[in-house]
């Protein structure tokens, strides 16, 4: 059985028993998922990476806090979400903006103009960039839900536990977020 076949719960159990290699496997498994999730809050790639580092530090120092009552991924996402929300509150108080707010591969990204005719066939790459831009323009509440559902492919129930909101609220925010995305991407009769 390869390391990638081992479940999260087995890995955390092994780490709790002192196996640091299991910790490394958890980090490799979740680091990119978490940075995408956290970036949805802070919109800053460097800050997002720091927060993910902090998340794993908390995992390292508080590994015995995890109990098999909930899924390990839910627990880990909850830690990351709490750190991200705290940072977001600090950022809002300071109201400063960072140059590194763009993602690494988008630092030279130029937003497409709206003068593209409806008849022009959009490349897949262009569509993805537009979705990404529209996603970044969503309110934080909607954006994080969409990321968890459509990018991280988590269930409604898991999202409800991670974000600590009722299931009905999760469904409502995902629906409204998608409607808003569709509205942002569809202008003057242009279709995606």
């Amino acid at each position: 059985m390869s390391d990638f076949d081992i479940s999260d719960e087995v890995l955390i159990k092994q780490f709790q028993n002192g196996d640091v290699r299991s910790f490394n496997h958890i980090v490799l498994r979740y680091k990119d998922r978490l940075i995408h999730f956290v970036h949805g809050f802070v919109h800053d790639i460097d800050k997002a990476e720091d927060l993910v580092q902090d998340t794993f530090m908390k995992l390292y120092t508080h590994k015995d806090s995890y109990r098999e009552i909930a899924k390990f991924s839910t627990w880990l996402y909850t830690i990351a979400g709490n750190l991200a929300r705290t940072e977001l509150r600090k950022l809002k108080r300071r109201k400063t903006y960072s140059v590194s707010s763009l993602s690494r591969d988008d630092r030279e990204f130029i937003i497409q103009g709206t003068d593209d005719g409806p008849s022009e066939i959009e490349s897949s790459e262009n569509i993805q960039r537009r979705i990404k831009t529209a996603l970044s323009n969503l309110p934080t509440n909607f954006r994080t839900m969409i990321i968890l559902r459509d990018l991280q492919e988590l269930s409604y129930d898991e999202i409800s536990k991670i974000m600590d909101v009722p299931l009905g609220t999760v469904k409502s925010r995902i629906n409204r977020g998608r409607l808003k995305l569709q509205e942002l991407l569809t202008k003057k009769g242009d279709r995606l």
Binding site: L28, K31, D32, S124, Q128, D150, Y156, R178, L185, R191
Partner: protein, 171 residues
């Protein structure tokens, strides 16, 4: 089903969570309303494209940086006392010092040998009641009164003859 309700159920339909009772009305409205149908198709296209958008990734040396932080954390205290009864070293020492102070203060306040007991009832004059009438005499009352006139003399003398006693000492 109207357009407003249709819109509210779009995500449930896409995610396969639409209840059977609502599904029929939803599908019927989709067939009847072109605008709602286009809206639904637009959202389905977005949701399908989502997993393909460029994902943000951590930097190449993420794991190394994390291990450096862990190493700093592990080496932060030369004593490496870890935890004492669940408390970290500094908190445990502070708690122990506080307990010693409380115990010492309690010992000093309650002992009978080191501090005389002060009986507040016996020295209180609030009700004008005195349990005893201690005597105090002054050899020359007039020496304490420099500028008073004779009309006050009696009152002053009475005051000097008023019994006063400090109650204290061991029983």
């Amino acid at each position: 089903m109207n357009c407003y309700k249709f819109e509210n159920h779009i995500s449930e339909y896409i995610d396969g969570e639409l209840k059977m009772g609502v599904r029929k009305g939803f599908v019927t409205h989709k067939l009847d309303c072109i605008l709602c149908k286009e809206k639904l198709e637009g959202i389905i296209a977005i949701v399908k494209e989502m997993p393909n958008i460029a994902r943000i990734q951590t930097s190449g040396d993420f794991l190394n940086k994390l291990h450096q932080k862990i190493e700093s954390y592990e080496n932060r205290s030369p004593l490496k006392m870890g935890r004492i009864f669940g408390f970290d070293y500094a908190s445990a020492v502070g708690l122990a010092a506080a307990m010693v102070l409380v115990v010492s203060a309690s010992y000093l306040l309650v002992t009978e040998d080191s501090v005389p007991i002060v009986d507040l009832d016996k020295i209180s004059t609030r009700n004008g009641h005195m349990t005893q009438e201690p005597q105090i005499t002054v050899s020359n009352p007039n020496s304490y009164i420099a500028d008073q006139d004779s009309s006050d003399k009696n009152n002053e003398e009475n005051q000097f003859n008023m019994p006063i006693r400090l109650v204290g000492g061991s029983k």
